[in-house]
Symmetry: C5
Subunit: 393 residues, 5 copies
């Protein structure tokens, strides 16, 4: 969450603290709760226009820009090193779609170049730079100064050291251009790049919005291993509660409920984004894409559905755990009570005959000792019979 | 869940693991939690078109195809062994409806033949092949290349070794053709086949959508024994909690809540499917069918209603169980306290007169021993009186 | 729940098992949970047409048919013994409304006669015969072969041996005819029959739908004694929890929550039925009736509202009970702890001086015994002071 | 809840039993739960028309009728003693609004006179006479026989002996006339009467619906002291739970939750009434009044909002109380365990050396007694160390 | 919450008692629960018109009025000391927007001057004066006597001594004028004033509604430190529950749940206000502002979302705490039981051999003492083995 000085109106949602921050913390196991933080003074106007962007200093860290031009017949991929000259050129005529992918948001000049070339809206630029936004979709219709664009923010979820972590992906969709910005290199789109290379694949024959659909589909599908992970943990905890129930289980249940809560919180707005893309009309979205979008929507709904199921089971587990605990306590207490109530009177009787009264008739009796044992056996026998009748034994 | 290599974009919802998988598991009693699993790499485009289908290898396992042609006057049933030649032929003129049923999805060539003949949409083919889909209905309206179809996925629920198991049924409804695909042989449609044979039955005089209605009706009605099963288990657990309440009951309540959750999760989308069929206009759905659909809808609503009632009772049972437990603990503790507090002071007194002080006046008293018993009786009598006043006895 | 062989597509909702079935059960106090049961094999087509009806065997048991014809000026009531000839006749001209009431559904011929005469829809006939349906209203608009009818199913709730029991009432409303079918003789409509006899009463001057309104009103009002019953039980349990709280109370709370759940489940769809009648336009419903229907709707809403209030209080009672229990346990434990911790050290000290060491200086001291008591009093006094400071005394 | 014989179709909602009934009860502290009771036999037709009204006997108890005529320039208030002659007269020409207020519903002749003069609907008359109705608003549009009227029922809530009690207020709003009926003398409208006397006040210059608005506003504002009361009680209980937590607190929390439930149940329909008045068009409602109605609506929403907040806190308190209790139990148990486990072994050791074996070497040792104390101190010291390590001390 | 005598219809929502009131209270740590209080008698008509305002006495306390006129080219800020002469003047021609800010509501003459000049509605004046209103937005459309205005109430939340406190901000938006009223000096708009001074900033080039947007944005952003605060407290409590769990934690959890409830209650209506501004058409709201309003709306939604997440975690924490407690109790009880049940029989045996029976064979045995130890070791060894088998050790 590198903070650029000079950037105004920055809202940062924490909660998915990157690994290096988490390491410094004194409670390493728990991911932090989400916050909202304003890095600039209140009163600053949101949105970053080109002039502001030009003045913003770049952070260290390299930025990788790749561009793939493709059409039904040809495809050409290039690594862009000189953004300025790249931006000056145009898409070749044979290419029906140009996909530019920017890995890393540290170089402001790169961002400014694309923002200027593709007329990005100041609010969108700000959202793009502040990498902790809630997933959303915003339609910028053709307007004085700005071209029609769909601006989509999604979050790529992944597991890091067993905990949820998310990276913001910003997608600009134009008529023939798709611009994607990622926080850091490394993504889940290898399969898509490969398919673009395959002649005759559906990606090649469809339009730019189909590419965006494919990108989102890959991101949503990437939630499946997370479900797998939480499902496994839940089943383990469940077995543990019902079988041995060590005290550490409480903590595990608590963590699980908490992470499922954060997971749901992350996926829920993604469902809304996809639903919007599927429902709303926009110049840049073809009907075919919308039909395919139903499929991703189905997946998102299923993911949320399963998270909810997990949560209900996890909540039920707490209750079950408490019930297991109180049942055990009961059993333990019953045992103590039985042993105690059997021996306490006997100990008293033994104490009686240990007294040193000079005038103590029973002591001198011949069968006194035998009589003592008879009383003891009768007492404890009576107790056992009575416990049995009460159903405690 | 046989995985076909080469199939891309496969989403599998587990949770109803087939028996042979369940057997290998170390916790055999509990059905697994639902997951979503992607069998192909992310980035693959969903939907399977005919070319891809042709390239997909078939799995071992036999496939049974049956075809029933019927009209008001005649009916003819046949087992199809040579799919290729069957597909080349047409429905006889006297037959107003053709119902083709495919049992088993292992032979890709069979699927391809019907997909080609009936112009099935690539997304539908994919959903059909991946047998763990959520129930849904999708209308493919007449379009370039594809004919108007209703594509319906429902799940047939059944009990297997006391646990929920479901099989996916995919139904394609055309104007005069009904195509059904089942995961494995064996279904609940015997009664329907018999009725088609009966001249003058309403099935014979109605259209293809009425057949689909009857198929869904049979599947929904098949949930009734499940309700029966869970209702019985719930009543047993209820009696057990209120009467003897062994610790094993906790586990049973937990299992029950969990399975009812999975049950509801399975029936809920079916209700939506039926509601859609009843509400929405589609070329292939007749008005008469929609009137009858109200009836199935009523049943689905009643099933969900009853599952909810069961769940509320099961949730209430956990509370009741805890209350029963804490009441018992109370009773046990009260008993221990009474016995303890009566005898502990007495034991102390007996201990006192067991001391060996040389200068110990009471020891030498004539009525010392009698006096000891008087003190003991008075103390314990006072205790009993006090307990009674406190309402503990 | 007599099962007619040959009837197909029968759905039976249990849960209000008739008295004779309940008697056979091993847990006589608890009404059974609701089920859904299919008496015929799946695949049978729902709806019973006249031909099927003709073939269905009649069960033993007598059927009473009464008919009241009335208009503003005249009224005539008759017991119908020969249904066939009755059906052949028509309503007299002076009568603006004919109300035919059938008590008992065992004689199929009677049902067939009315079904034929009044063109009842096959689905309605089936619902009518299977006496465990959820309340609903279905509008059959004028259609080829069938006349415009409103078909209404309501359930008459009553207490039987302190438990909910319900009887299905099926009502067919035509323009000038009202047909009611009851499961068994005995109803709550005595007041209505009397009012029809009274010249100038609003029933006499209004149309057929007003009669139906009055019938439903009487049934809804019949829920009031049930509320009374559960309100009384709830107040008793409440007093019991807060005052003496015997363990039997848990069971009573559980039963109460369960029955209120079933009660709500029974009334809820009735509210929907009335709401539909009040809102929807239908040829057979006059505007005046709809105005009056608001009144019944108000009552139904109030009943549900009160059931919900009862349930919330009952749920709160479980918590209160647990709290009461844990408070008592606390008190008991505190007492035990105090008695125990005061006497345990004293007993130890007494034990010490009961030891038989030969070289045991204190034993021989002159004031040894007095010193022992001083130590005891100081120890226990210190304990009491400390407990008081901790707030345990 | 005086019951008029001869009144038919009477629905009475109890729950706010008047003081004299409450006094007879054996559990005086708790207000009764709401019921619905039908005082006539089922089957009676609701609504009371003028003829029925004329036949109904009057109950004892005096009725006060006051009338205020006012316009922008003049105002005249009178106590009406002879209703018959009053009804025969008309509103003076200078008066733009006439407000007639009837305190007491015992004299049927008074009710009949106004019902006849102002053409009140039979259903409205019945609701008016049965003083336990749920708040509602009903629009009677101009119709054959009846004039356009708004009929509003609201409930005036007040505290009586620390418990909720409510009185029904029925308001009829015509174009230039407002008729209000109260159960008993004494109201919250003193301020309004005073303002009507003030020349130039907004009441004087607005229409009849503005008067109704003012009446409702006064009634809603009257709920504020109730909130105050429950807020105070809740804060006291809260402090008590967190500071000393006597067992009586459980009962208090239970009562509070119960009364807040009944409070919410009473205010909720009032919100609906005001919302309806604010939203719906009606001849008798001016636009200006609707603007002002927003203000009362805001208040009603705030009241419900605060009741909900109170309820959530009260529900949370039960949990907190249980947690406090179990924490204390824990502390007590830990103490008992520590004292017990330290002294129980010591007592055993003391018991050992109190045995009378003839051949008992340690007894004769020179340092036996000193050795005994060393063992005791070592044992208890080890225990204390171990408890400290476990974190129990 | 200074109360102005003579002000009528005053509704005050407490719950954020200012510091000086809080200091007097006996429970200083907890913020009070919200109430609604009417300072005037019921029946008073709400809304304050100019005449009433003129008669209202001013409270002591100084009022600061500042005015900023700005346009794209020029800006001029002034402190207004003589309100009367300021109001007589007009906005200079070069200024496209005039923003007047009033700090302090004690001087009624100031309020009256602006109310007269800008034709404020009586209801709005009342709301403005009573500084404890729920956030809301009201559109006064151009009307006889009043100009089109948007009247917005928002609440500025801040932490005071660790607790929530809020100040009411009333905003009037006209076509070219923005009027803001604050309860007390000191605000969060320093950044905005600075930006107005900056030539070419977006504030300078946009219209009046953009200024209002910026004001609200600054207020919403001011909630972020509150989230930070509660997030930190929650994480601390969480760590404490899972690690050491002192009894004080219960109180802390309770406070936290309570404050989050009040926090949510404060932010929720703000979201509605912003949503209304974003959705509804109004003359004074430009389309550009509505686009920017989406951004604030996003923030408000995120704040509520995070509060809900916190609350769910806090609620889960209570359960976890109880579970932790009962687990510990279990552990403690098990320990007590083990020590008790091992030593109680041994103590009994030691007591037996301490008896003084004359005829006591074992006493005289040679190996009696050794035999005693053998019995003791055997007994306790058996116990330990048995506990191990039961899984208690």
């Amino acid at each position: 969450m590198s903070e650029q000085p000079g950037v105004n109106g920055v809202v940062a949602v924490e909660g998915q603290a990157p690994a290096e921050v988490a390491e410094k913390k004194r409670r390493p196991r728990r991911p932090r709760l989400p916050r909202l933080r304003k890095t600039s003074s209140p009163g600053a106007v949101p949105g970053i226009d080109l002039d502001q962007l030009a003045k913003m200093p770049s952070a260290p860290g390299s930025v990788f820009v790749t561009c793939i031009d493709y059409g039904p017949d040809r495809v050409a991929a290039q690594d862009v090193h000189d953004v300025a000259s790249f931006v000056a050129d145009h898409r070749p005529d044979w290419a029906s779609i140009r996909w530019i992918n920017v890995d890393g948001l540290t170089n402001m000049e790169v961002v400014r170049s694309f923002a200027a070339k593709y007329h990005l809206h100041p609010l969108a630029i700000e959202d793009l730079l502040h990498v902790t936004h809630r997933p959303k979709v915003e339609a910028y219709h053709a307007d004085a100064g700005y071209q029609a664009r769909l601006f989509i923010i999604v979050r790529m979820l992944e597991l890091q050291a067993g905990h949820l972590r998310s990276e913001q992906i910003s997608i600009f969709l134009g008529h023939k251009t798709v611009l994607t910005f990622q926080e850091s290199p490394g993504d889940v789109w290898g399969g898509i790049r490969q398919r673009i290379q395959t002649a005759g694949s559906r990606l090649r024959t469809n339009d730019a919005s189909f590419l965006v659909y494919s990108l989102i589909d890959a991101i949503v599908d990437h939630c499946f291993p997370l479900l797998e992970h939480y499902g496994d943990r839940l089943e383990e905890v469940e077995a543990s509660v019902l079988q041995q129930a060590t005290p550490a289980v409480i903590q595990e249940i608590h963590e699980l409920k908490r992470e499922l809560l954060l997971f749901r919180r992350a996926v829920w707005p993604m469902r809304e984004v996809i639903s919007t893309l599927q429902r709303e009309q926009h110049d840049c979205l073809s009907d075919a894409t919308r039909t395919y979008m139903r499929d991703v929507y189905d997946h998102a709904v299923q993911i949320i559905d399963i998270i909810e199921t997990y949560r209900e089971i996890a909540i039920g587990l707490t209750e079950t755990y408490m019930t297991v605990m109180s049942t055990r306590l009961n059993e333990v207490m019953k045992f103590l009570t039985i042993v105690g109530t059997i021996f306490i009177p006997l100990t008293f009787i033994a104490g009686v005959y240990g007294m040193n009264f000079h005038n103590f008739p029973e002591i001198g009796w011949r069968w006194g000792y035998g009589f003592f044992w008879v009383v003891c056996l009768a007492t404890s026998g009576g107790m056992v019979w009575w416990f049995r009748r009460k159903g405690w034994l």
